[in-house]
Symmetry: C2
């Protein structure tokens, strides 16, 4: 009789039911062998563990290494705040530093070499058996096994190496280790090696130009996804130190010229600026909007008699453009000032500001040093930026002159004199002006009114033109600016002509600024990230942005 | 036969149909009189217009006044950028200034007096018939009739008045007018008089304490609704100039202590900080959130080896609180630094920073001058701020000491040693500490862990406490800060304990910061607006904010 079938249930396929059949002879043999193998392994591991325990128990150096957390570390005699400070420490002095493990390797059981890294500074650490504190082999093994990128506290004696250590930046010094505590370990598997971020990003990425599949360097995307690791590479780190320098030079220039730093609001009750997109914010029971620029707040400050004003802060653009020079959030260096007689006062001020900024970046010791780190990492244009000599004004051409220059060089500028210059033409213009005037910075004045926002002041001498200007570095726009309309009737007329709806509640506040007397004024908004990008000749604005935001990226 | 009725339409009531009846005799008489009156008036107006036209045609001074726009104004010999610069101009020199009409009155037909205002500076302008340029009576009438708050360009000769003009700040000078052009007129009806904003806001407003119905000063709400006019009042103007001073002193201190200025992002992919509310942003096809602090970005910068960092930027809080010290957007002065051995390094740094800031505000000539303007306007606490003498450290007490102080002074602090100190107790504490230590600035250290956010480092000596601190000015909190957890296992444990969900995509980025080695670090976030508010002793944080945002206010 056959066994009763499991009626109603599908019968199990043979393969799955295999274990229910009696084992074959060869399978039994294999199982026996496996068991023996496992027993052997277990014995070996137990022995090793026993040896390890014994060794540890006899490890006289136990207090000299390990995780810092919960450890009663040796008291620190002299803390060096930076690896660079070691240069001023005398030989044989005991110092403590905190830095990252950049490299760690054992050379036999009695010796190990570490390299510590902090920004662009590196130093070799020698871990040798014995010595005054009795460094053990276990300790050497531990030190050589610390994962790279771990943050450690190292105490040692400063020594001059027999031969300079060419692979480190502090090549005339090394540390002879006395203790090493891991402040914070790095995981063994890193998603990105800092070594692969030393040079500029690979162009392997799609859309990043000619693909070089042999390029070992990490792509920009990988770096942005692993921003914390990527930022540790010296050049990338220096880029953001230099960003701080730009903010500092800018602020100091503005303050020394009588400007007041204001803190605009970044939330507006209405999307007032028209044109490009704004981000909508859920504001309790209603809608608010992220400001696309501090424009209106600067103007209100002028109407409120604060005088010339500047700000440093985020600018939000809800534009779905994925280019190398656009972000949805960037830092604006904005300013606005009263005009006495002519808007060229504002234009000249801005030009002088930019020339000062660039000259400072080229001459301040800290900026020069940072720029050289970036250049040496393989950014050939870093620091190679021409401006007219001190005492000379910036190169300024009118929009029509720019078009003529392009036309004379064979560019098709069409027949409409008010058609804009496109990005490719701007770059070509940068080359033409570099040839003609030997400058990487220039400005274009008197744009057609039709190309500018409604609040731009028309040119009194030609109503088709406007009192407006753009600033360029290496033929790429870094600022738009203009004299603004300060007379309410003209503003209303222009809003009508440009199809801006003045009934919008946001415009009520804006119009207020011109109802009660407003000085003539003008200004502009510099893009911090673009200044940094083009000063250094970086390929992508994301390289000049600590936490870039674009239509697809919202983190880290 | 009766007229056919408008069938289907309601018949009009008699009163409305009244005009269809024949006029009465008396009505006809009245109409005749009205006609005669109107004819007389028209004749008179025509005559006046004729006289005006004649006068204008014969007005030899026509080119010396009027709206600036479209006018070929007289060429400027010497522009004074500020009214204050007039003090260094020699008598009888011709100068041009641009400022507002603060006051204008005719004294008969041949003389008028104007007062020009620019921030806290005022000067008298004498407009007298005749003179070298032949000032006409029409011109005098025009000048006396310019609406107050209009922005004008005035050219005149600098003169010493016979007697000092006590009603103006430049009392030893006056201008003898030669020309006056209106750059931008103010409307005749102003929603707020600048004169009513000279002194602190009235307490008439609901919920603003004891109502004083006789107080002629504008309420805060009126001032905020008409921000541009209110900001023109000297004290209000000086408050925002002083805000710039605070940012300047702060930045300079940070830079001189080796900090790097970073530009965090204000948009996050997830609402990571838990606790208080966040504003949601529509970010293309998904959601983003406005950051509640640059906390995570500062920490990522530290993990990315930027070193000690600081920032100045907006902080967004979607909290529906309508108090005198809360806003939905304020300016954060944030900083974060690596710790070498103990978090008191960070606490001491912050204390020294604040002492430096306050001492500078009390001693820098510009800050002192601005503070005195504010004090003189009726803010008695402005500039009256005690800190320990130079070379002395800040007053620091522990949370438990604070509670004991309160208890000893009769406050009910309850039985739970980890219960927080409330706002009223903090203020009382400020008074107690002022009495005991003669300081308006102090810090409280070692808050119970349960009161702080998940990323706060527990105290190694007492797991119920934390390595955290708050800063106070006049007994009001201006900063929260702490050592942050830098070890991933501890962070995860704390997130679990605090009920924070680590699966949230925002936390993935955050955790990354601690996967690859992170220095011990700590920092804090100072509230710029609160520092300004409490340094000056302002009643409401909105007085210390150029464009305040709260649950009900989104403009101007």
């Amino acid at each position: 009789m056959s066994a009763p079938s499991d009626e109603g249930l599908p019968s199990r396929p043979k393969e799955e039911a295999g274990e229910e059949k009696g084992p074959s002879k060869s399978a039994l043999k294999k199982a026996q062998k496996d068991r023996e193998k496992a027993e052997k392994l277990a014995k070996r591991l137990a022995l090793e563990e026993e040896q390890r325990m014994k060794a540890e128990a006899s490890d006289t150096a136990k207090h000299l290494y390990g995780p810092l957390s919960g450890q009663s570390a040796r008291p620190v005699k002299k803390f060096c705040k930076s690896l660079q400070d070691l240069e001023s420490v005398a030989e044989d002095e005991e110092v403590t530093v905190q830095a990252r493990i950049y490299n760690a390797r054992a050379q036999g059981a009695k010796l190990a070499f570490l390299v510590l890294r902090e920004q662009e500074h590196t130093i070799q650490v020698v871990v040798a058996e014995g010595g005054a504190h009795g460094i053990s082999r276990q300790m050497i093994k531990y030190c050589a096994g610390v994962n790279t990128e771990s943050f450690v506290r190292v105490t040692g004696l400063v020594k001059a190496p027999k031969d300079p250590v060419h692979s480190t930046s502090l090549s005339n010094q090394e540390l002879h280790l006395e203790s090493l505590y891991v402040v914070s370990p790095a995981e063994e598997q890193l998603p990105l090696q800092v070594k692969d971020c030393i040079k500029p990003p690979s162009t392997r990425e799609e859309g990043e130009g000619e693909a070089d599949t042999n390029d070992p360097n990490a792509t920009l995307k990988t770096r942005l996804d692993n921003k914390i690791l990527a930022t540790r590479a010296p050049a990338t780190n220096a880029i953001f130190q230099l960003q701080s320098e730009i903010c500092t030079i800018y602020s100091q220039y503005m303050l020394s010229h009588g400007f007041t730093m204001i803190q605009p609001s970044y939330l507006a009750g209405a999307a007032t600026e028209g044109g490009s997109g704004v981000f909508e914010v859920t504001y309790f029971e209603r809608k608010a909007y992220l400001t696309q620029s501090p424009q209106f707040f600067k103007q209100m400050a002028i109407a409120g008699d604060i005088g010339p004003v500047f700000s440093i802060g985020p600018v939000f653009r809800a534009e779905n453009s994925n280019t190398k020079r656009h972000l949805t959030e960037f830092t604006g260096l904005d300013y606005e000032m009263p005009i006495q007689e002519h808007y060229h006062e504002v234009l000249s001020f801005g030009e002088d500001l930019m020339l000062h900024l660039i000259r400072q970046l080229l001459s301040r010791p800290k900026s020069k040093h940072l720029t050289s780190i970036i250049r040496d990492a393989g950014y050939p244009d870093a620091g190679n930026f021409q401006v007219p000599p001190e005492g000379t004004k910036a190169t300024r051409i009118t929009f029509q002159e720019a078009k003529t220059l392009l036309k004379d060089s064979g560019f098709d500028i069409g027949t409409d004199p008010h058609a804009d210059i496109d990005t490719a033409q701007e770059k070509a213009l940068g080359d033409l002006i570099k040839q003609k005037y030997n400058t990487d910075f220039f400005t274009i004045d008197q744009y057609p009114l039709s190309l500018r926002p409604f609040y731009t002041h028309p040119s009194p001498s030609n109503p088709e033109l406007s009192n407006s200007y753009d600033f360029f570095m290496r033929g790429q726009e870094i600022m738009s600016g203009a004299q603004r309309i300060h007379e309410l009737p003209m503003l209303k007329e222009m809003m009508k002509a440009k199809g801006v709806n003045p009934v919008d509640p946001g415009f009520k506040d804006y119009e207020e600024a011109f109802r009660y007397g407003c000085p003539m004024h003008g200004g502009g908004g510099l893009g911090l990230n673009r200044i940094l990008q083009f000063f250094l000749g970086l390929n992508n604005i994301r390289e000049a942005t600590l936490f870039p935001r674009d239509p697809v990226r919202l983190g880290p």
